[in-house]
């Protein structure tokens, strides 16, 4: 099917984009990579009256790395982030997770920030942002605000973004030195959205996982019994994960199967992250 008609806006600067979005309010929708929005429009599940195409706004295709964070601009494509050497050195989890996002061809166009704003409960990046205590920078014509991951993801396909706002960047906090990370998932077919996925960070004084596919959004679980240099308490880990998740059945998997996957993948992700932690006791 073909998208419904809409009015197209092509701002050439950030201020212009914010003015257009302010003027349109509820009627305006941002077009970034279009890798989620265009299929939704083609299937007529979405029919915005106005599209504000931000692909021609200069200065947003950025990957910034410093000693504390990796900050990704609104127009950095998944593939740009995935292949950025400095971002990989600083935060390998980004590449570990991005490799599971669709196919390389989709990653060449889709943006990392767009994936966060889209807020698909099966998407990898929201789980990563939550896992790393990250935040999203939202700008409107009047103000800028920084929203922590924990309050950014509200429900399936629902985030804290308000009409008139543009997400200009996402900030991922680097875990403590000596931590290891991993991202594992199970998909029905190569490149599909995951049935269940788990990201893990294991450090000397904390360990945590974020799961996708087992709730209305990413689920964060702190696992003090899985820290780097202590013997792993399998039963405690199982109990904490069990308490946090609430999987539902759909055409891809039963709730029980998702629950089973969650526990298997948590073990796998913790083992991989532990193995990669540079400071671990031999």
């Amino acid at each position: 099917m073909k998208p419904a008609p809409f009015t197209y806006h092509r701002p050439r600067g950030l201020d212009e984009a914010l003015e257009v979005l302010a003027a349109l309010g509820e009627a305006g929708k941002v077009l970034a990579g279009g890798q989620s929005l265009v299929p939704l429009m083609s299937m007529r599940l979405s029919a915005p009256a106005h599209l504000v195409d931000v692909n021609h706004v200069p200065g947003l295709a950025t990957v910034h790395v410093d000693e504390h964070v990796v900050r990704i601009g609104a127009l950095a494509r998944h593939s740009q982030v995935e292949h950025d050497a400095a971002a990989y050195d600083a935060l390998p989890l980004l590449r570990q997770a991005l490799r599971h996002v669709a196919h390389p061809t989709i990653r060449n166009r889709g943006t990392t920030v767009g994936s966060l704003v889209h807020g698909d409960p099966a998407a990898e990046l929201p789980a990563v942002l939550l896992l790393l205590d990250g935040s999203v920078t939202l700008r409107s014509a009047e103000r800028a605000r920084e929203v922590e991951a924990a309050s950014f993801f509200i429900g399936p396909m629902e985030t804290a973004l308000r009409p008139g706002e543009l997400a200009v960047a996402a900030t991922f906090r680097r875990p403590a030195t000596g931590s290891g990370t991993a991202f594992v998932e199970v998909t029905r077919r190569h490149g599909d959205y995951a049935v269940c996925g788990v990201g893990a960070v294991v450090g000397a004084s904390s360990a945590r996982v974020a799961l996708l596919g087992v709730g209305p959004g990413p689920v964060l679980v702190d696992l003090p019994d899985a820290v780097r240099d202590e013997p792993l308490d399998d039963e405690r880990v199982h109990a904490l994960v069990e308490e946090a998740i609430d999987p539902e059945a759909d055409i891809h998997a039963s709730a029980d199967y998702r629950r089973h996957l969650a526990h298997v993948l948590v073990r796998r992700a913790l083992a991989e992250a532990h193995h990669r932690a540079p400071g671990r006791a031999a």
Partner: protein, 175 residues
């Protein structure tokens, strides 16, 4: 509803175009209907099958997931643009032909563009690499074996010129 047409300029296979399009025109439809470049095929129209894959500034993308008006200033390459300089088949096209890597041919333009871009970054792929390279493209006919062979054959053709022959995976014998 009357729509405002939007002006967009880009190049396709090196030729400049300056068009006025309905903004909802998908790039796949603009190529096929407005430019009459019907080499690009349309299957699923939601990003899954890969038949519509074209190159935007040398990177493979789904033309069914891009509004044509969004590509102002871009350099687009379709399978028509991947011929050799004398107008014959380019190396990837030739490899698909030699290895019998197509039957109905519906999926082929998307494979040709995807493989062309892949070989630029990975000049000598193993069979496993070749499978990974084409994992985002569906083919209903061939069973993929000959496509994997074609990826490797194309790599030889690109790097060495026109020697050797097509070798199917799992055999040492030319097919």
């Amino acid at each position: 509803m009357s729509v405002d047409l939007v002006r967009v300029s880009f190049t396709v296979n090196g030729s400049p175009y300056d068009l006025e399009l309905d903004p909802r025109r998908l790039l796949s439809d603009a190529l096929r209907h407005d430019l009459r470049l019907t080499g690009t095929h349309v299957g699923c129209e939601h990003g899954v099958c890969g038949a519509c894959t074209i190159l935007v500034d040398d990177a493979p993308m789904r033309s069914c997931l891009i509004f044509a008006v969004s590509l102002d200033g871009a350099a687009i390459t379709t399978t028509e643009g991947l011929q050799s300089s004398d107008g014959g088949m380019g190396p990837v096209q030739r490899a698909f032909h030699e290895c019998h890597a197509l039957q109905c041919g519906f999926c082929t333009p998307g494979f040709v563009t995807t493989v062309t871009a892949y070989l630029r970054d990975h000049p000598s792929p193993s069979p496993e690499d070749a499978r990974e390279a084409i994992a985002g493209n569906l083919c209903r006919c061939t069973g993929y074996q000959n496509i994997v062979a074609a990826v490797q054959r194309a790599a030889d053709l690109v790097t060495e010129g026109a020697t050797g022959a097509c070798v199917a995976p799992g055999t040492e014998e030319p097919t």
